[in-house]
Subunit: 507 residues, 2 copies
């Protein structure tokens, strides 16, 4: 065994993974409706080729050999080997029958979840969810390294280094911070006018605007493309092929505009990974949380910035061909940042969004660490929405049945969304020590922002853990105060809360 | 070895083939420009998996076993096995180094062909073409079964059962027939007015019309899709996923309208293959010629039919939103069938098109059977264009460099286009014994035509040879007279040649 042999095997695994990526993209961007049955045969077969190589004899041999002869690996080889070993150890120990049982259970659960959405009744999903939970609990011992609790094991699958201990603390702080901001806005704020947001803007007009914006932000269309889909996503086939997708609503331009800016953030991350990691498992984002930090930096940090919108508004008006000519810039900008408690996570605004995540986190923790009775979950869910957001679902479809994640046994995934948001605000704070984001976004050249992100985050792919990236980029560990401060700055300004908004009003 | 094992292996081969199909479709419909290098790695790897199974030990074992125990196969199993054996025998004997050399040579030739197109000089392509020819000549002995000449071997790869003997005869007849029609038109015909054909019709307007038309013809969008591309094609992933593509020109609606109708004919063929052949090498069109007969039946037989256009013209006018309101139906219809000698095959009209093919056929035959000097080919090409079409290329780009086929060593392919056209006219003649195509195309229900084609051609996939299909469907062997008669009927009517056009003028 030598490094070249290992790299050849990894390349073949990667080529199969790229293939699965294209197939998946095709499924979600217009594969003919009746092609799905044949396609699942194609996918299963290719996935079996992929997986049997990933935990196959060549990789096993390489792990044994290089564990004993680490110095025969190059610098890059060492980094790659660590990741290969880590992935292997997570996967090879798991009994095949348990994985097969989970695959079967999630298939059933997805069907039951869809059916329960029809009846809007959690009772119709309870049995399948219980099975998903049980099987996940059986898997935890195989995945466990040195995590303190069972739920920590699940968190680590999506965000290495994350723990209940950290999340309990930061989520408490964020929750209190948001609730305090909401109280201030309710007492002293001035609600923006949003009546004009539903004016018709055609898909072509929206597309012209948003493709122009993301090109300026640094998304490279010669290494990507934008397609229509139902559930928007970015897929990084490789760093020369990072595709984004969106859906359009001609009476709600915000959906595609912010959606595409968001996905472009994911895409820019993938496009910027150092080529030296090509064809290895390092050639991807390092975690869900860091990935989300990049999309949310685009969508919420840049997308909430007054200078950014002041610069872009004339272009936006031009693309809308007169539709918004009677709306002043300030009114337009304020409308984008209206906040209102809502029941549905994916429709939430950037102030209340973390509360939706925190509710899910608390419930998942109860499931895996506190043995809560599954039948009680809808009641708990509804109580938490009432307590944190002041709204109460009138049925389970508006409540606990809204997200797909649990039907796929993706427990531990939700916190990534809020982590990404906190990372994004913390990265902004660090970036502002070196350059003024307001000045860059007021200029014709946004490159300094992307270059900073490339240097601090993107280039490393999965070669550095989230904790290390954040520490190196910002000089400290995860600190949620930056997010709270940022939310205060934006929302107090938009809502014209006296002490905060003065300096911006002059514009 | 049993049939189930063989079918399992064939299914895996087919699943890899489907994957290669999706990847190829993606390359041609908008893969990011800079993704091509990585993609060629993906393709090579998957192709090697595919090919090594196709001529691998399992298939070899199956061939040995079932050659001795044919009665252990089911009816369908027998049909499939024959095809597997045929493909295997064509491929396994070929020395790997010869195939590798050909792959390398065609790569070089494609680059040289592109370069020679820049200089418009055949001399820059001559060396690479010579190499492609030499290697193909070396391959012929490995492919040869009982064919009479070397060029017959090449013809058989695209059209089993076809021979120089047959083609010499039918092409002579077609050539004389077309030249006689052209003479009559020149002497007695009235040129249609085509000045309005370049009026602007937007892509959206064209798309609305043509998707409506092909749905009526029987193309099933729930098992297909229409995408943009540079070089239009149809790709049959499987019978539930037969995708078509087109390019658009807003000042030449004919390009996309006839192009999409053409590709839909290929798509309908693939969509109609009997499901019992799924995941086997029978699950595809039987030959290039039969495939082309289906696309040309749509494009030229239906697309030249006066009743068809009379029925569709109001819908066309409606889609064009007023652009053609001042054009009478008769003027419109006549404009579609103008004929004029041209230099470029893919721009040729339906009367002169076969002459372009016959020129290529005669030259390919000279190369493989008569040892012509490659350096002489441009001169021969230009002379033949002058002789058959009365036009002479002013440079090699307008002449011998126009087609991609020879750079890919696809010798023997060109005749399929003309065969398809002859088959289409012969199928029309047979169909008209059972139903009136004019009546069907004047009605709201085109299904009887597609049902006839499904019964006679489509359902069989590759389980029957072209010769058998044509014999069974039409009651006779290939007979080019139907094409000549058909051309006379259409062109004499459109050009108002007295004795033919009377009965139609009343409309």
């Amino acid at each position: 065994m030598n490094e070249k042999e290992l790299m050849k095997e990894l390349k073949e695994i990667n080529l199969l993974q790229q293939t699965l990526g294209i197939l998946d993209w095709d499924i979600q961007t217009g594969m003919p409706e009746k092609a799905s049955e044949d396609r699942s045969e194609v996918n299963s077969y290719l996935y079996s080729l992929y997986f049997s190589k990933k935990i196959g004899p060549k990789i096993k041999e390489a792990i044994q050999y290089f564990s004993e002869h680490p110095n025969e690996l190059s610098e890059t080889g060492k980094i790659v080997f660590e990741k290969v070993k880590e992935d292997y150890e997570l996967e090879y120990k798991v009994p095949e029958e348990l994985m097969t049982a989970l695959t079967a259970a999630t298939s059933t659960a997805q069907v039951q979840w869809q059916q329960s959405r029809e009846t809007k009744n959690f009772a119709d999903f309870q049995e399948a969810l219980t099975k998903n939970i049980e099987l996940t609990k059986q898997l935890i011992p195989y995945w466990k390294k040195d995590e303190a609790t069972d739920y920590d094991v699940l968190l680590n699958q999506y965000e290495p280094g994350m723990s209940v201990e950290i999340l309990d603390r930061v989520f408490q702080q964020v929750k209190e911070g948001i609730m305090e901001i909401r109280k201030t806005l309710a007492e002293k704020g001035h609600e923006p006018d949003t009546s004009f947001l539903s004016r018709k803007m055609t898909k072509a007009q929206q597309k012209r605007f948003v493709t122009g914006v993301i090109e300026q932000l640094g998304y490279d269309f010669s290494r990507g493309r934008l397609d229509d889909t139902i559930h928007p996503f970015m897929i990084g086939i490789n760093h020369n092929d990072a595709r984004i997708t969106t859906r359009w609503n001609e009476h709600d331009f915000k959906m595609a505009v912010f959606g595409v800016i968001h996905e472009a953030g994911h895409g820019m991350y993938e496009q910027d990974i150092d080529e030296k990691f090509a064809y290895t498992p390092i050639y991807q984002g390092t975690s869900m949380g860091i990935h989300e930090s990049q999309s949310l930096f685009n969508e919420i940090i840049i997308g909430s910035n007054r200078s950014f919108w002041e610069k872009q508004y004339p272009f936006f008006q031009q693309c809308a061909e007169g539709t918004f000519d009677d709306i002043s810039f300030t009114d337009f900008y304020r409308s984008l940042k209206q906040t209102q408690a809502s029941l549905i996570r994916i429709e939430a605004d950037s102030l209340t969004y973390p509360l939706h995540i925190i509710i899910r986190y608390e419930i998942e923790k109860m499931i895996f660490n506190e043995g809560v009775d599954v039948a009680q979950l809808p009641t708990i869910w509804n109580q938490k929405y009432e307590e944190y957001l002041g709204v109460r679902p009138s049925n389970d479809l508006e409540g606990i049945l809204q997200d797909v994640h649990w039907s796929g046994a993706s427990f531990g995934y939700f916190p990534s969304y809020a982590l990404g948001y906190m990372y994004a605000a913390q990265l902004l704070h660090a970036l502002e020590k070196e350059l003024s984001i307001d000045e860059v976004l007021a200029s014709d050249d946004y490159r300094p922002i992307k270059e900073w992100m490339k240097e601090k985050i993107h280039q490393y792919g999965a070669s550095r853990k989230p904790t290390q990236l954040i520490q190196d980029a910002t000089g400290e560990v995860l600190n949620p105060q930056y997010l709270i401060d940022y939310m205060k700055k934006i929302y107090f300004s938009v809502y014209q809360v006296a002490e905060f908004s003065s300096e911006k009003e002059g514009k």
